[in-house]
């Protein structure tokens, strides 16, 4: 197994700061915009973005966590069973601007399922997608992010490993893993 560092801790924070500035550019005061982190791994990034946004704007920003397990299209078709995670959307999505947040965009199937899952909480006015790592040329569906941390060239057999301190890692780092 070979591990290559894509983003180190310092660069990662700079990227988060840049993404937050881009969000503010489009949503100004976030009066009717909400963040939704996708379970299981997008929630750490969503928390970090929320924290930085609150620092920048000096107000609290609504955040929810969405689990897509029950909406996946590969249920019963994949080798390993899927396990559900908590969904916590403590606000109505009706007529809100929603920013979906996930750490890695790969095939796009999770995002498709998330769009489905989100509708159960109302009809949003606008939905945008923010992903930290955009894996180029690996998409199964016509889904593209609106905000990207970093675009990387990867093979389908490779894996992007995101480590967050909130999750128990030593420091925030992103790796590209190649299995021999």
């Amino acid at each position: 197994m070979e591990k290559r560092l894509i983003l180190d801790t310092e660069l990662l924070q700079i990227t988060i700061n840049r993404l937050v500035e881009e969000l503010i550019e489009n949503h100004t005061d976030f009066s009717d915009t909400v963040l939704i982190g996708l379970q299981p791994r997008g929630i750490y990034l969503a928390n970090r973005i929320q924290k930085r946004l609150e620092e920048r704007l000096g107000k609290s920003i609504s955040i929810g966590y969405l689990d897509t397990t029950f909406y996946r299209d590969d249920f019963r078709r994949r080798e390993t069973p899927i396990q559900a995670n908590a969904t916590k959307v403590p606000f109505l999505i009706e007529d809100k601007k929603v920013i979906l947040i996930d750490d890695v965009l790969f095939t796009g199937r999770t995002v498709r399922a998330a769009l489905d899952a989100m509708i159960a909480f109302g009809r949003p006015r606008l939905v945008e997608l923010l992903t930290f790592i955009d894996r180029k040329y690996t998409r199964d569906l016509p889904i593209q992010p609106d905000y990207v941390g970093k675009r990387v060239n990867t093979l389908k057999t490779q894996r992007v490993l995101v480590e967050w301190m909130d999750q128990g890692a030593e420091s925030d780092k992103i790796w590209l893993v190649t299995n021999e």
């Binding site: 249920f75 069973p81 559900a84 908590a86 109505l92 899952a117």
Partner: protein, 309 residues
């Protein structure tokens, strides 16, 4: 990633503690789903489920059907009262005919103990036992223990009493298995004639005195007298049963702690439980019904995930 150790839900006896925990964790998520504005998820949209009820049922059948529909499964219903079973068809023929119409899962209630086991050996669909005679009723025991867990946190070392017609109750047997696997202590209580002869071999405490039982337990699960299964006279009269074993507010007030009162339904008010107890704060009877839908969604979801051979 977790998966159930079984392909069918025939009884609690076949489940491991991990299986039960996985069902409970999945139920937590479905409970959140059924409290959303839109209560439906598309997980089982390519699955067809047959609900085959050879015995009467209101709650269980409705609960399964709702669970299936909230998972977007296609549902066909069958009850023996208006079917070809009356014309002499065997169980296997009936079910095979239904399966020829491409059904993936079968939920069955039958009057004969072991009917679900028999079916699972002969057909390819995932079988869920919705009650087989006086044997097991696994989803009821799962929702009962889930409801206790919701109230008390963990079941380890909790004391649960099952009071009433133990002899004819599939709910009692499934509950005993489930409670013991989760680490709870179990006591059964009822008139001698309604306690199975070898019940002690299951490792439960036995009492004939309802007051003593209530003083011992944290939770009392009160069962209905199953008159429809009783071919003999097991006690002189319902009135006498009610006097000795009926749970009423006066009796509950006479013990010096507040216990949780449960009942799997249908309740016979004034027989095994009085109205003031059934409708009291201590009673979690309606929580049990709500949790029933979420438990059945979890069981269907987890079994559908098992690859069929």
């Amino acid at each position: 990633m977790a998966n159930l150790s079984v392909d069918h839900l025939l009884g609690i006896k076949e489940l491991s503690k991990d299986d039960i925990q996985l069902i409970f964790e999945t139920t937590d998520h479905f409970k959140e789903v059924i409290n959303r504005p839109i209560k439906k998820v598309p997980s089982l949209r390519d699955i067809t489920i047959a609900n085959i009820f050879f015995e009467n049922s209101t709650r269980t059948k409705l609960s399964f059907e709702l669970a299936e529909k909230r998972l977007s499964a296609d549902v066909v219903n069958f009850s023996s009262s208006n079917s070809s079973v009356k014309k002499g068809e065997t169980l296997l023929d009936t079910v095979n005919n239904i399966l020829s119409m491409k059904v993936d899962m079968v939920v069955m209630r039958h009057a004969s103990p072991g009917a679900a086991h028999f079916l699972s050996r002969h057909i390819k669909a995932n079988i869920i036992n919705a009650g087989d005679g006086t044997h097991e009723h696994p989803t009821q025991a799962l929702l009962d223990t889930y409801s206790i867990r919701e109230k008390l946190g963990d079941l380890t070392n909790k004391k649960v009493a099952i009071i009433g017609d133990i002899l004819h109750s599939r709910v009692a047997l499934s509950n005993i298995y489930a409670l013991q696997k989760l680490g709870a202590e179990v006591m059964v209580c009822g008139p001698n004639t309604l306690l199975p002869k070898y019940i002690k071999e299951l490792g439960v405490k036995v009492s004939l005195d309802v007051k003593e039982t209530l003083e011992w337990c944290d939770v009392a699960n009160i069962l209905r007298i199953q008159l429809e299964r009783q071919q003999l006279k097991y006690f002189p009269s319902l009135r006498e049963y009610s006097l000795y074993y009926g749970i009423n507010k006066k009796l509950l007030n006479s013990i010096n702690k507040e216990i949780i009162v449960m009942h799997p339904g249908p309740i016979n008010r004034g027989v095994e439980i009085s109205t003031d107890v059934a409708d009291s704060k201590q009673s979690i009877i309606l929580n049990q019904v709500e949790n029933g839908v979420a438990i059945r969604m979890a069981v269907l979801f987890l079994l559908a995930q098992k690859k069929q051979n």
